[in-house]
Assembly symmetry: C2
Homo-oligomer: 207 residues x 2
């Protein structure tokens, strides 16, 4: 069982490695990457050891090969097909934000408001929410991003369950029943701010 | 030392409790809340025990009191003053998204593009980035949200360090040096999708 924290750090290593590669560092030492990523080099080596050895003892890592290996572990060596549900401010911002990332492909957007349906946002067609089950069966997106109010979460998750989706990333945090076989993660910006607030408060109390 | 995961679950409990309160449940059993939040009730009781006991044995929790207690622990019983740096799609969406939440107050927005400076977005004034240090000293926001490209992260963090900020929530993931005494968290949407992708891939391999 690989710890969740290890998997999450892989994304960070990937960004640090791409940064190094962009700077022309074709060979990197674990110490340098670890420092850039603000983890200890022993932790980084431990994280990578779960997936087999990549480094050559005393000679560091081949930056490009390590990037490719991590991309393969994460599964982004092939493009991931995404859909986005909810074309409010956040949903539209997500389309514009994610279309810049080469290994994501947004293949459709959805909303329940007829006035938003039919147009395109940055080349992504906006469909009515009721089209979700048939769209999923035909186009087989892997991950759905939900930029919807928490009150609609269960309803949209049910629609996604009628079709077939492998993963859901919800920007709304609310109690929800998930169809069997579907992975769900939550990114709720308010709770991230709350977490920071707790850490700041705690620091204040410790003084 | 309270585990990070416990703190993060507090935000989830809070949402489930507010949901229950909105449904008219003035007394809640830990079992019900735990089920709504998809954690075991023993885990929930353990999480709450770090902060002293709230429940009355056999009679459940007073929903409103438990909400207030958690809000106090997190530090959102008073409004948190926020600023947002970067008025691209994501930054503008953040203003619209967060202004709905009563315990946040966005007191200023910042960008380095002169053309974006001077106007207002949803009643929030947009200032030039160079104003950050003086703004921080005068208005004392607690947390800065950074919706900027990763290349600008260090520069903006340095500007924030010149003033005084307690916490930074960055939507850009990049190696960065943080001023002493500042808490930083990252929410990078791409790496959240990568994490889901890994879990989906792993499941595929296990079949």
């Amino acid at each position: 069982m690989i710890p969740e924290a290890t998997i999450r750090r892989l994304s960070i290593y990937l960004r640090c490695l791409r940064y190094s590669l962009a700077q022309g560092e074709y060979i990197v030492q674990s110490m340098d990457i670890a420092r850039k990523c603000r983890v200890s080099s022993s932790l980084m080596r431990k994280d990578l050891s779960y997936f087999g050895g990549f480094g050559i003892k005393g000679r560091g890592y081949d930056t490009k090969k390590l990037i490719e290996a991590i991309e393969r572990i994460i599964g982004i060596h092939i493009k991931i097909k995404l859909i986005i549900v909810g074309m409010g401010n956040l949903g539209r911002a997500l389309i514009r934000h994610l279309k810049e990332i080469s290994y994501f492909k947004i293949i459709g957007a959805f909303d329940r408001d007829e006035r938003k349906v039919g147009g395109k946002i940055e080349d992504v067609e906006v469909f009515h929410e009721s089209r979700l089950p048939s769209f999923l069966r035909e186009r087989k997106p892997e991950i759905a991003l939900l930029a919807i109010p928490p009150e609609s979460l269960q309803e949209v998750v049910n629609l996604l369950g009628e079709g077939e989706i492998k993963g859901i990333l919800s920007f709304a945090l609310s109690p929800v029943k998930i169809p069997v076989g579907v992975e769900i993660s939550f990114v709720e910006i308010a709770s991230e701010i709350e977490y920071l607030s707790y850490k700041i408060n705690k620091r204040g109390r410790e003084k």
